[in-house]
Amino acid sequence: MKTGQGSVWAWRIGILLVFLAAWEYLTGIKAISKTPGLYWIDPFFISRPSAIARRFAYLMSDNVRLPLWRMALSTVQSTLWGFLVGITSGFVAGLLLGRSDRIARVFDPFIVAFNSLPRIALVPLITMVFGFGLLAKIVLAWSIVFFIVFFNTFQGARSVDADLISSARFLGANEGQILRTVIVPSTLAWTFASLTPSISFALIGVVVGEFIGGESGGGLGYLIIQSLGTLNAADMMVALFVLGAIGIVMALGIRQIEVRLLRWRPEYQKR
């Protein structure tokens, strides 16, 4: 197993290096033409690894007004807030509606309607109401995460095994104890399964918010839009690479938490 892991990693790194080398090399070949500065593959559009690395170092430095790391931090901060508020409210709402047929029936059409609305369409409205700062981005991330968690939790709350509830009752549990020891843990298993997609979607929501949020909102989405304005492919690539790295780290972190919390499930048992 261990040696297999090693060779898998060797392949991965190899592929990455070949890709970067090809990118660097191909964007360096000049076209044979009388027009100077014409490339077969023009780095103006997709930049080159060396240029991206230089811009990365420059943007990280204190020579710029808003350093890259502060933008990244702002994006991470908004994402985590939107994620936390989203999973908490989604869980509570899902549990409430999942365990009460009456409330579920009343709210059903509203939920379906709001969920089928493309969330991106809400960006201008959210910006208008919550301004250009952190809050608008959190609200946007929340509006996506909430529904992912809500629907999962709702399903989970509906599928709590009635025999487990009866067993608890025979063991002397009152309604509060049944909620705490049967319904919540059983539902949480479903909620946890929605955490990984939730963090990714929270990031999407935040970046879209930053596209429109302007400099006061900061963040990597702002860097992307700014680079579009100045036609600076290298800066845009820097933002994309950093976003990718943030996405991976957050997804891995959530995965660790999920494995820890769901260690009782057969599929998480170490064999």
Binding site: R169, F170, Q177
Partner: protein, 261 residues
């Protein structure tokens, strides 16, 4: 005879399936006395589990009544009743130890006492070394042992068991019969045990309620005269066991034949 713990009077249950009325249990009456081990046997679909569910307040009867210690059974199970399901109802997110502790936690028993009683139960069930294990890592027999100990650790005076060993292989089943009899020998709960396995019923019970096929009525009330303590394996070769098995089998066989014709 000792006092009546469970009195079942003219009990009926009809299920509605759309516009169709399906009678499951019809006019069943019998008593279960204190410290008595009663088994209910019958062909599948005869309503034996339905009777147990009505004693445990899981479903409401459509006719007749059930009295537990003189009080009519209502919407919530009487507190002196423990219940072991056929299905695996061990909480998968709790370790063995914490599953067995459930009933004590619900009743607000002090932490130190919970620990002592759980340890004792784990020892009795031969689950030492698995205290911290999650149910997903256990075999079916071990999970059912956990479920049994979880019910017994709160000392229920009346224990209802719905084919608790139905899903287990013969070997595991015999081991659990021996363990159940040993446990019952020390505490002498009043037990109602539902099964479709006649040899299981004879091995365990003092008295057997034999049901007809659907709608379930009582076909026969049979007193098992095998002496206690019983050796669950040796028992099967004794002449008395074979004679009693033959008598009940004859009554049950009539039910199977009627279905076939």
């Amino acid at each position: 005879m000792s006092r009546v713990r469970i009195a079942i009077r003219d009990l009926s249950k009809t299920f509605s399936q759309g516009s169709r009325e399906v009678p499951a249990v019809s006019g069943v009456s019998f008593d279960v006395h204190d410290r008595e081990f009663v088994a209910v046997v019958g062909p599948s679909g005869c309503g034996k589990s339905t009777i147990l569910n009505m004693i445990g307040s899981l479903i409401a009867p459509t006719g007749g009544e059930i009295l537990v210690d003189g009080a009519r059974v209502g919407a919530r199970p009487a507190p002196q009743i423990g219940y072991v399901f056929q299905k695996d109802t061990v909480f998968p997110w709790r370790t063995v130890e914490r599953n067995i502790a459930l009933g004590l936690e619900y009743r607000g028993v002090a932490r130190a006492e919970v620990g002592a009683r759980v340890r004792e139960a784990i020892k009795l069930a031969g689950l030492e070394g698995f205290e911290e294990a999650f149910p997903a890592t256990l075999s079916g027999g071990m999970r059912q042992r956990v479920a049994l100990m979880r019910s017994l650790v709160v000392n229920p005076e009346i224990l209802l068991m719905d084919e608790p060993f139905g899903a287990l292989d013969t070997h595991t089943k015999l081991n659990l019969h021996a363990e159940l009899l040993a446990l019952w020998g020390t505490r002498q709960q009043t037990v109602v045990f539902v099964t479709h396995d006649l040899s299981e019923a004879i091995t365990l019970a003092d008295r057997i309620v034999v049901m007809t096929r659907r709608p379930g009525r009582i076909k026969l009330l049979y007193d098992v005269k095998l002496p206690r303590p019983r050796d669950v394996i040796g028992l099967r070769e004794s002449a008395e066991y074979l004679r009693e098995y033959g008598e009940i089998w004859h009554a049950l066989g009539e039910e199977f034949q009627e279905r076939a014709s």
